[in-house]
Amino acid sequence: MKKLNKLFVLTLLFTASLLYAGDVTKVENFKLKDYNGKEHQLSDFKDSKAIVVIFVATQCPISNDYNSRMAEIFNDYKDKGIAFVGINSNKQESVEEIKQHAKDNNLQFPILKDEKNIIADKFAASVTPEVYVLNSNFEVLYHGRIDDSRKQSDVKTKDLRTALDEILGGKSVSNTKTKAFGCTIKRVS
């Protein structure tokens, strides 16, 4: 009977872990280098009101559709206490390529190279662009898209801006998870 009970609990735990596998609610501190070789860690931004982590790409047309929007959002919120970190986890996109791409597209926030997609795995990030907004405890306050259309003229909901405004206003984020089509993060096999 005891054995059966143990089995039941284990099954329950296993099922629960499967159920929660899709959504990461908290991340651990991590260290990565940017395209200039400078090391950054999440804890560097602990004093910010929120940390925006964006998984980006250089070759994904959807991520590229958002370059100017990412630059604008960074400019609008950087002085309001919001930190921005880009992460490139695509195996085929080199540090040199990321550096040139950031320069060409005026992306002024640090973009870190996630060799072997270790950090993408920790976030369970699967697409570019994909955003995670974290508080100072690295809990996920918002996860999903920048806005609801890759065509800027069709945008109806500016989901990332809304989440950031709510955080700055001391409110809880009303829509914590959104989705949009994007490119698969190319992981090492």
């Binding site: 899709g22 047309p61 699967s126 609801d148 949009a180 089509f181 490119c183 698969t184």
Partner: protein, 169 residues
């Protein structure tokens, strides 16, 4: 003499008919209809004994374009499986992007264009755990039950294995 004329007449008529037929084949229009929630639910449900191979793609998605020939080949081989594509390009890009791509691939299966209310509605309809990364393939058995969800580019062999799995259900 009359007989010869008649024979010649029939030959000419036959040639014109054959030529017209060939011409119509060349001009065969690829039609890309819009798919919404109701139509997708109907397609998944009404299986008529055939499993369904549903591939989500876009012309802007490089790995989608790369895996397309493998799916095309499988669509030719598996006549007992229904193959359907859904392009998530914009509906206004049917003529400029989707049809030229399907023509270049000599597509052996039909594709629709995403006409859902928003991307999120289509993503969640197909799988709640899917973040929208493309390409993505969903395979349903002959009863319309989802058997496989494949995210990212897959090979001919990987697809084949999953199709065989769906056929056995």
């Amino acid at each position: 003499m009359k007989k010869i004329f008649l024979a010649l007449f029939f030959i000419v008529v036959l040639q014109i008919t054959l030529f017209a037929d060939e011409k119509s084949k060349q001009d065969e229009k690829i039609v890309v209809d819009t798919i919404n929630k109701e139509l997708l639910a109907k397609i998944i449900k009404e299986r008529k004994g055939k499993p369904l191979f549903l591939n989500l793609w876009a012309t802007w998605c490089v790995p989608c374009r790369e895996e397309f020939p493998a799916i095309n080949k499988l669509a030719e081989e598996y006549k007992d499986v229904e193959f359907i594509g859904i392009s998530v390009d914009f509906p206004e890009e049917v003529e400029s992007k989707i049809i030229p791509f399907l023509k270049s691939q000599k597509a052996k299966f039909i594709s629709y264009v995403n006409g859902f209310e928003g991307d999120e509605e289509l993503i969640n309809t197909l799988d709640k755990d899917w973040n929208g990364a493309l390409p993505a393939t969903f395979i349903y058995d002959k009863n319309g039950k989802k058997v496989s969800f494949l995210e990212g580019k897959k090979s001919y062999d990987e697809f084949k294995k999953e199709i065989e799995k769906a056929k056995k259900k």
